[in-house]
Subunit: 364 residues, 2 copies
């Protein structure tokens, strides 16, 4: 059960919380200015155009809306499995598909994961070469969120693309946070995606929409994916509102990504000196990072409640066990427009409060 | 591919077409008046309350939002199959699950349908008694849309409920148009649903929302269904907007259902005398009926284009082959607020135009 977090005044991670009233007001403005009609089972000029725009932006033939990435990605794996007559796919154990989707690909499509690489770092081309079984698809994350937002280094990414091509492995990217990676790679989205067979990109997360994503690929892949979208129950009566909730702010968010990135660097430079807190990666590679703590997950949840109730500060949605030496838990910070609009002094004060809360727990 | 129907001035079936701007404006008003927050993976006071309200209204323990009925109903069948260790379910061949979902229940859950009754009428308790194989679940439609909106007669419905209970068959209703049936049965929704183990009800169709539905059942069923909702990729980041698009007009629509019903009766009494058109059922039982024609499906599609281009009238979204003697095709009329606000003379004129268009085709 996720926490209801409406009562706080101060948030840290992600973009500013808005109400349904504020959000519909923004969408209404966009809809009126652009004369947007409602679709009938996804058929609409507005949706077609936005799908095409995104596909063009990242260099794919077609894009197809899905209500969730969970649906889009298992369908992509199923389509590839049917195409290659091979149910195996390679994946990193920190990938969302493997770690957080309750084995949906097994339950619904009888696919089988082959874990690749090591748990605590992105894989390199050598890891891919070491896969012992024949796989239909290799899934790479751009970037690895669960590792603190670490992308595969460019050289390795290029080598993986080449290796997959030479070995008839379909290369799919979980690009839930692709938009966040341009500053790291210093490449266009098209260059980053060149050589991938398919990618899933999110319309909420960094973009700030209400729900949904695009699966991008070639025409035959998207044609098959459409059939499975219907079978999964993903073909909504009207998709327009969800897509519009992303479209109205899409360009602005992409423009701001480099600002979020710079702010993350600045926060690292000025706010990472509390000995109770360990930032990971040591220096943020994109506009997100993890904050590791020497308190347990349970203690961290109590801390969250304390900050919510006593200070009106919402610290994080999720907290996980830490894999770092001497640390026990961590939470994620996504630098979005919340932190962009805070001064470094304000941000520092929040970390200081957290450090102060933790300190006495460690000396007990 | 569904037609894009934005260019017409006159519609017949369903509720009035609105733009995204108009619709978000109405939702915004509702959201502001009710102080509605956005959810985080479905967790919100607003969603919880609306789900509870609907569950209470129709007499179930719990209700769970799904983005589509296709997802909700195959999941219900899967949950029941696991519970009873039996993959067979009984269904009428005109039910949506069997007729229009591309065998999703087979592809994704390896379930097996056992067809019950006769193709062109709702089934009676005798049909259910004649099922030769053991089934986990019996699916009944309340009402049968594809038969022209015909509900199972009350006595038979009660007998089917009793029979299923006595024979340990879980009884599930496709209640996509349950809201339309109160005037026919002259019963409350609770009375209609009493004795069902589960039901799916729509939030768009008669209600006019943008997408989605509720699956209602007991706590253990809904608990299992939640797991499968996530696996299917049905757990949207934010569901609020879709649910609000229905909630803001829900009470009004339920109140108007009896007016739609009366209007359907009136249209039948005053507009069904064109010999080129055959209304089915002979007298509408709910606020919908079929109009059968002696022209083919292909001719009917040409007619739709003609009316769209020459008269700005959108006749129908879909047209199907007719099962009636001497007829070749039919389309559906759902009496919603479009026809409610038209005079009988206006409605008659439209049928007259259709009859006039068809007449010369028949004498060729």
């Amino acid at each position: 059960m996720y926490p209801i977090q409406n009562d706080c005044n101060i948030y840290i991670s992600g973009h500013k919380r808005t109400s349904l009233s504020e959000e519909t007001s923004l969408i209404q403005h966009f809809a009126k200015n652009n004369g947007i009609s409602l679709d009938y089972y996804s058929n609409s000029d507005f949706i077609n155009k936005f799908q095409n725009d995104i596909a063009n932006l990242i260099g794919f033939k077609e894009a197809l809306f899905f209500p969730t990435g969970t649906m889009a990605q298992q369908i992509l794996l199923k389509v590839n499995a049917d195409k290659t007559k091979n149910r195996n796919f390679g994946i990193h154990e920190k990938s969302h598909i493997y770690a957080f989707e309750d084995n949906a690909y097994k339950h619904l499509h009888r696919l089988k994961e082959i874990l690749v690489g090591q748990p605590n770092k992105p894989y390199l081309v050598e890891d891919v070469k070491n896969i012992s079984e024949k796989i239909s698809t290799l899934v790479i994350d751009i970037p690895y969120r669960e590792l603190g937002g670490i992308p595969i280094p460019w050289d390795e990414l290029e080598k993986i693309k080449d290796y997959c091509k030479q070995n008839n492995i379909l290369l799919h990217a979980d690009g839930a946070r692709l938009w966040e990676c341009a500053s790291y790679y210093k490449k266009s989205y098209k260059e980053i995606c060149k050589g991938l067979d398919s990618i899933y990109v999110s319309l909420y997360k960094g973009i700030g929409g209400m729900a949904g994503c695009f699966l991008c690929g070639n025409s035959s892949t998207i044609k098959e994916a459409k059939k499975w979208k219907k079978r999964h129950g993903g073909k909504l009566f009207q998709e327009t509102i969800l897509i519009a909730s992303s479209a109205y702010q899409f360009d602005k968010r992409l423009r701001e990504m480099s600002l979020y990135y710079k702010k993350a660097q600045e926060i690292y430079n000025k706010c990472s000196d509390f000995k109770e807190l360990t930032f990971y990666p040591e220096k943020p590679l994109i506009n997100m990072f993890h904050v590791h703590m020497k308190i347990t997950v349970e203690e961290a949840i109590l801390m969250r409640e304390y900050f919510k109730n006593k200070k009106g500060i919402w610290l994080f949605n999720n907290v996980f066990p830490s894999q770092l030496k001497d640390n026990k838990s961590y939470f994620e910070i996504y630098v979005g427009d919340i932190l962009l609009d805070k001064t470094i002094s304000e941000v520092n004060t929040i970390f200081e409060l957290i450090a102060k809360y933790i300190k006495p727990l460690l000396s007990e």
